[in-house]
Point group: C2
Chain length 706, copies 2
C-alpha cells in the first residue's frame, strides 16, 4: 500500500496537472499545437497554461514563452507537439526545467521502424535520468472533464466536447480512445477522465488504470488494451477495482491471427495467447467486450449504479412477439427468465384478462387505450416476481408524445419505488425523452437484446463484488521440493515431486529387477500397469513401454524383462531407471492438469477433460497461479466437458472437491517455482466417484532450459 | 407452376387491392377505424376508398356508405375495424358482397381463450364458404408503399411514413411488424411491401411470403415467424427466392424454453424443435438473424445489391487499434482476412512509408493532413487484394465537413470504379452525409463489427445463389421395401430394409441353430459378433444379448446356446428369431444416422458423431428429407465432430463420400415412407478409411403406431 507506483501516482501529472506548458504551441486553433490550447480555454481550465513558441509573444490571447526555461513558475506537465526529430530536445528541456511529466503527441517512433525505436529509447533514457515521466509518444492526449482538462489535438471534440460524468477510459490506442470519447458524446454518456497511451514508452496501461480507478469521481472504467507490459500491476488494478465495486470493461485487441499480425505491425506489444488472456480476465472479474457497441452499452448500463441483486430478469412488453424474442435472447445470454408466482399472475390477469402474465408479461396494445394499466402491471411484476432487473419494451410509444405523457407518471413512480432494480425502457425515443428517462433512472435501449446483454454484465459484476475477498490459497507444504532450471525428471521422480506438493498420485513402486517386480506385484494388487522409467524416454507408450492388465506374479516377472528389452532396442543409449508397477485404475473421469510458462503472465494452470475434449475440441481453460479453491471451482465449471464430472451417461458424479484441491495445490507449487519451471503435464489425472478422491496416473515435469 | 396458391396469389388482394372498404370507418383520424383512411389519403392512394358507417354521410371528406352492400361498385378488399363480437357479421357482409379478401384488425380471438378460438373458427367457416380470403384477426395491417397503400391503424407511422424502396417484410406478429416498419423509417430504409399476419386464421406466412418474393419491386425479404403452418409451401417460397437471387432473412421467435412458453401463450403456433428449424433454415439458404439490430443490418446491407463475389474482406482504417479489432471480428465471424499481395503492400508503403499495408491497411492520421492519399491507397487495396468487400473505418471524420469534403471525391471515385464490390464506410455521420454516401454506393455502419456481420450474410447469400439448382436426389431403388404403419422389425429385418434402400450394412447371417452358427462362422471370418434377434427385444446389449470377439467355430457354437438361454431367461415371452452372426468391424469412425418424424416438417434426417459428441455435447444436425449429396456434405461438415472424419489424432481421413451416399439414400427412403415411419436409428454407422466405405452395424426401425 506504500508503493506509489502501484496506485498509478505517476499518472497523476497527466490527469491532474498543476500547470501545463505546450512545446510547439500554435496560434492556429486547428494545428496540433493549437488545438489543446483552444480546448483548454473553451472548457474553462483554471490552472496556468504556458504556450512555448520562440517566434510569438502571444498565442490565442495567452502570453507565450520563448522556451520552457523562460517560464518563471513551476511547470508540472508539458505537452510536446513538435515533429519527431525535435522531441528529444523538448524532453531534455523538460528535464532541465524539472517538470513532472511530458506527454508526447508526435509519432514516428517505435511504431514505425527500428530507427524510430532507437530514437524512442534515447528519449526514454533522457527522461528517466531526469526523473520526468513520459506519456506516449504517438498518444492522443488526456482528459479530466471536470477540471476542463482537454489536452488533445483531435478534431473529434470540436462540436461536442465530453460531458462530465462517471465513466473513466484508458486506451492504449490513441485513435481508438478518441473514437470512444466521440461516441460517448454522441450517446450523451458522461466521462470523468480519459487517457490514451500510444507507444507506452514509459507510463503503461496498468499505471494509468490504477490512477483512474482510485479517482473518486470515476465509477466505471473502460479499458482498450493490446499487449500487457506489467501483468501483475494490471491484475492488481483489476482487483482493487473489484474491491472498490467499480466495474471494469476490457476490450482486448489482437485476439485473432489476422488481428495479432496487425497488432504486431501497429504497436510493439506482446499479444500473448488469447485463450489465456481471456481466462485471466474471467479470473479477475473484469468484463470482456468484443465490439465497440458492447463496450459502450455495458459502460452505459454500469453508469446507472443499479447492479441487479440477482440474475432474474422480468420482461414486460406491448408486443407479444418481441416478448418472445426477449425471452429467447435472455435465456441464450444466461439470464434467468423465471416465471412469475401464481398469485402475481392472477393479479395481472385481474387487471387485464387478455394479457400474458407468466414472464414475459404482455400488456398488449391495451395500454394504448388504458395507459393506467402500465403502473400496476409493472409494479405487480417487480414486487411479485423478485426480478433484480426488468426490460419494458414499448416499441415506438416514447415517440408519441400524447400517449407517452400519459404513461410517464407510471414509469416515474415505478423507478422511484424500485430504485434497487436495474430498469430498462426499450423504445425509440427522441434525445430529450431519452435524457428525461435516464434522469429518472431508466436505461434506454432501442434494441432489447443489447439491453439484456448489458444486464448480464451487470449481474456478473454484482456477483464478483459480493465475493468474499479471501479465496484462501493454501500454503506450499513444508516438504515440497524446489526444482531447478535444467533438471530432468523421469515419471517416478515427477510423481514424487507432485506428491510432495500435495497432489495425489497412483500408488506405485519402482522396481529394478524381474524378481523385485514379481515380489511387489501382489502387494499392490492386480490388475497392474507396468511402465518403463527413463528420463530419456518421454513418450513411453509409443515405444511399447507400457503394459496393461498384468494379472499374475508370472506376468509381472516376464513383463519386466520384455519392457527392458524393448527400451534397449528402441532407445539404446537411454538411462533406464527401472520399471514402475502401479495399480490399474478402473473407472473415474480422465482429466488433464497442466502448467505452462506464459511469456506475459508466468506460470499458468491449464485444465481440461481427457479424450476428444482436449484433443479434438480444445476444450480447456486457464488461470494465473496461484489461486484458491473458489477459483479452481470456477475453472472446472467453465469447460464444456464439465458435464462428464457431474455424472454424464448414468455415471456417478465425480469427486469434484478432490479435483479442486489438486488444481489449487498445483497452482501453489507452480507459482513457487517461478521461472525455473517450464511445464507440467498430468495426463491423465483420474477423478474417481464422489468421496473416493482423484489421482495422477502419469506426469511429466519439464524445467526451463534457458 | 399453375397452382396459384403456391405463388401466394391469395395474398394479392391485401397488397394490391383494386378498391378498399373500411367497416368501422371513423371520422376521428386517431381511431382504429380512422387511421387507415387518414394514411391512405396522406400517401396518395389512388384506388377507390369506401368508408362504411351507418351513422355518417361523409368521413374524412370521403363519401361514406351505410353498408358494404350499399357500395354500387366492386369492393376488392375490406378492412374490418370493429369489436370482436361484430366481426362475424362483417365477414358475412363480405361474403354477401363477394369481396376477394377481408383484413381483420380486431383482437379477442384464438390468441385469448377457447371462446375466442371458437368464434374465430366460425368466422373462418363463413369466409371459406363464401370464397373470401381472410387476413388476421389480430393483425396490424398491410403496406404497399409505392401504391400509397398504408392499410394500418398503428400510430407509429404518423410522423414518418415508410419510404419507397426494395425491402419487403412479412411478420406473423403484428406489433413486431410495425416496430420494424418504424425502425426502417428511423434508419431511412426503403420498403416495398409489408404484411402482418396476426393469428393466421386463413392466409399464412408462407402464402404472404410467396407473394412478396415474386413482387418485381422487392429485392430483399425480412420474415418474422413463430410457428410454421405449411412447411412445404414455406420451403418452396425460400427456394423460389434463392432462384430469383432475393435474400431472405428470418427471425424465428420462441427458440428458448422461456420463449417457447411465451409463444404458446401468445399465438396458437407449433413452435417445433428449434435445432431442427435452425438446420432447415440453413438447408434452405435463408439467413437467420437473432436480434432486431441484426435483422435490420442485414436487410440494409442486402438492399445495396452488391453481394461480394468472395469471402475476402479488405480492411482499411485511420486507427490501427480499430484495424486490429476489425481483423479480430472478421476472423471470428468466418470472413477471410487474407493478406495483400507483396506488390500491393509495396505500392502502399511507397505512398505512405509509415502505414501498415498487410490487411488491415492503416492509413494512419496522415490522411488528415494528406487526404489525397485515401484514393490511391483504397484503390491499391481493392485492385491488388481482390477483396469482394471492404470496410473503411474513418472514425468521426465524416462529421468534420472541411476535412470530409476533401476525402469525398476519392470515395466517390472508388465506389464508381469498384461497383462490383460491397463497400462499407464505418463512421459517425450526419443523416445527410449518410444519405449521400449511400447514394454513391457505400453502406454506412457506425460499428464496424456490425458491418462485418452483415458482410458475412451477404457472402452466404452469394454462395447460395451461385449453387447449382440441381442437387440430384437419387431415385429410390426399385427393390426398396415399403413399410407400413404398425409393423415391427427386428434388427435383421431392419438391415434388410436399409440394404434394399441402398444403405450398406455389415455382412451378416441369421442362424437358427448352434450347428448353423458353427457352420457359418468361418464363411464370415473371425473375429465375429453374435447378437440375439427378436422384434420384442429392443435393447440387446443391456440383457447380455451381444457377444464380441468370437474367435473360433467352437465359440460360435457355444455362443449361440448361451445367447438363447439368456434371452429366454430375461424376456420369457419374446419371439426369438435366431442369432445374427456378423463380421466384427475394426477401426473407422462411429457415427449415428437417424430419422425422426417432426410434427411440422415430417421426416427429418439426423446426423452426428458417436460417443460424447452425441451423448454429451448434443453435437448433431438435421435436414428435411429428401436431399441430394451436396446437402448431405454440408450437413456432415456442420457438426463439431467433423474433425474426427477428417482424420483427427493421426488417424486416416474417413470415407466421407460413403457417408454422403448413405445419408442421401436414407433421406430418400424416409421421404418415401411419409407418415408410416416413426423413426430410424442407425447406431453405430461406421465410416471406414477413405475408399473403404461405411456400414451400418446396428439398426432400429420403428413405424408409426397411430
Amino acid at each position: 500500500m506504500t508503493n506509489l507506483s502501484c496506485h498509478g501516482e505517476r499518472a497523476r501529472v497527466f490527469l491532474n496537472p498543476r500547470s501545463i506548458a505546450i512545446i510547439g504551441a500554435s496560434g492556429d486553433e486547428n494545428k496540433i499545437g493549437g488545438r489543446p490550447i483552444r480546448y483548454l480555454k473553451l472548457a474553462g481550465y483554471k490552472k496556468p497554461i504556458y504556450p512555448i513558441n520562440p517566434n510569438r509573444e502571444v498565442i490565442q490571447n495567452l502570453k507565450a514563452y520563448i522556451s520552457l526555461q523562460a517560464v518563471q513558475a513551476e511547470v508540472d506537465l508539458v505537452v510536446i507537439a513538435v515533429p519527431a526529430q525535435d522531441v528529444l530536445a523538448a524532453v531534455q528541456a523538460c528535464v532541465d526545467k524539472r517538470v513532472s511529466g511530458a506527454m508526447i503527441f508526435s509519432s514516428g517512433f517505435a511504431e514505425v521502424d527500428e530507427a524510430g525505436r532507437l530514437l524512442q529509447q534515447r528519449i526514454v533514457d533522457t527522461a528517466r535520468k531526469g526523473g520526468v515521466t513520459l506519456l506516449g509518444p504517438n498518444c492522443a492526449g488526456t482528459f479530466n472533464v471536470r477540471e476542463g482538462l482537454l489536452a488533445t489535438f483531435t478534431s473529434g471534440i470540436i462540436d461536442k466536447p465530453p460531458r462530465i460524468g462517471s465513466i473513466g477510459m484508458v486506451s492504449q490506442s490513441g485513435a481508438f480512445g478518441i473514437h470512444m470519447i466521440v461516441l460517448a458524446a454522441e450517446r450523451d454518456l458522461g466521462l470523468s477522465m480519459c487517457l490514451t497511451l500510444g507507444n507506452q514508452c514509459d507510463l503503461d496501461v496498468s499505471e494509468a488504470l490504477a490512477y483512474v480507478i482510485q479517482d473518486a469521481d470515476t465509477d466505471v472504467i473502460v479499458v482498450v488494451i493490446e499487449g500487457v507490459l506489467n501483468p501483475s500491476r494490471l491484475l492488481a488494478a483489476f482487483e482493487s477495482a473489484r474491491r472498490m465495486h467499480k466495474p471494469v470493461i476490457v476490450l482486448k485487441l489482437g485476439r485473432s491471427q489476422a488481428g495479432a499480425k496487425a497488432a504486431a505491425s501497429h504497436t510493439a506489444s506482446l499479444a500473448g495467447s488469447d485463450e489465456i488472456f481471456d481466462a485471466i480476465l474471467r479470473q479477475n472479474n473484469v468484463y470482456r467486450a468484443y465490439s465497440i457497441d458492447e463496450l459502450m452499452d455495458v459502460a452505459y448500463a454500469c453508469s446507472f449504479k443499479r447492479l441487479p441483486y440477482n440474475d432474474k430478469v422480468g420482461l414486460i412488453t406491448v408486443s407479444g412477439g418481441v416478448g418472445i424474442l426477449m425471452a429467447d435472447q435472455a435465456e441464450e445470454i444466461g439470464l434467468n427468465v423465471s416465471e412469475m408466482p401464481a398469485a402475481s399472475q392472477a393479479a395481472i390477469k385481474e387487471l387485464l384478462p387478455f394479457s400474458a402474465a407468466r414472464n414475459p408479461v404482455d400488456v398488449t396494445a391495451q395500454v394504448i387505450t388504458h395507459p393506467h394499466l402500465m403502473g400496476p402491471m409493472f409494479e405487480q411484476m417487480l414486487s411479485g416476481g423478485d426480478y433484480g432487473s426488468a426490460v419494458c419494451f414499448i416499441t415506438h410509444i416514447a415517440r408519441n408524445k400524447e400517449l407517452f405523457d400519459k404513461l410517464l407518471p407510471y414509469f416515474e413512480d415505478v423507478a422511484q419505488k424500485y430504485s434497487d432494480r436495474f430498469l430498462v425502457l426499450s423504445t425509440l425515443a427522441s434525445p430529450e425523452t431519452r435524457k428525461h428517462l435516464e434522469s429518472i433512472g431508466y436505461a434506454v435501449f432501442e434494441d432489447p437484446g443489447r439491453a439484456l446483454k448489458a444486464i448480464y454484465a451487470l449481474v456478473k459484476f454484482r456477483a464478483s463484488f459480493n465475493m468474499q475477498d479471501a479465496d484462501v490459497i493454501p500454503a506450499l507444504p513444508a516438504n515440497a521440493i524446489r526444482i531447478k532450471r535444467g533438471e530432468v525428471f523421469d515419471e517416478f521422480k515427477a510423481k514424487k515431486i507432485l506428491t510432495a506438493a500435495g497432489i495425489p498420485c497412483a500408488a506405485e513402486r519402482l522396481v529394478t529387477s524381474a524378481q523385485e517386480a514379481a515380489d511387489s506385484a501382489p502387494k499392490i494388487g492386480f490388475p497392474l500397469v507396468m511402465k518403463i522409467v527413463s528420463s530419456d524416454i518421454l513418450h513411453k507408450s509409443e515405444m511399447g513401454g507400457v503394459l496393461l492388465n498384468v494379472n499374475s506374479v508370472e506376468e509381472a516377472r516376464s513383463g519386466y524383462i520384455s519392457l527392458m528389452q524393448r527400451a534397449k532396442k528402441h532407445a539404446p543409449g537411454a538411462r533406464l531407471t527401472g520399471v514402475l508397477i502401479a495399480q490399474q485404475i478402473k473407472g473415474g473421469v480422465e482429466t488433464i492438469l497442466g502448467v505452462i510458462r506464459d511469456p506475459v503472465f508466468g506460470p499458468v494452470i491449464m485444465f481440461g477433460l481427457g479424450g476428444v475434449f482436449v484433443e479434438v475440441l480444445k476444450d480447456v481453460t486457464f488461470r494465473c497461479a496461484p489461486f484458491g479453491p473458489a477459483q479452481a471451482r470456477r475453472m472446472i465449471r467453465e469447460v464444456k466437458g464439465y458435464v462428464m464430472l457431474k455424472g454424464a451417461r448414468g455415471a456417478m458424479p465425480a469427486d469434484e472437491e478432490a479435483l479442486v484441491d489438486a488444481l489449487t495445490r498445483l497452482s501453489v507449487f507452480a507459482a513457487a517455482q517461478g521461472d525455473e519451471l517450464e511445464s507440467i503435464d498430468i495426463n491423465p489425472f483420474i477423478v474417481l466417484a464422489k468421496g473416493q478422491g482423484a489421482l495422477a496416473v502419469d506426469a511429466l515435469i519439464q524445467t526451463n532450459k534457458a
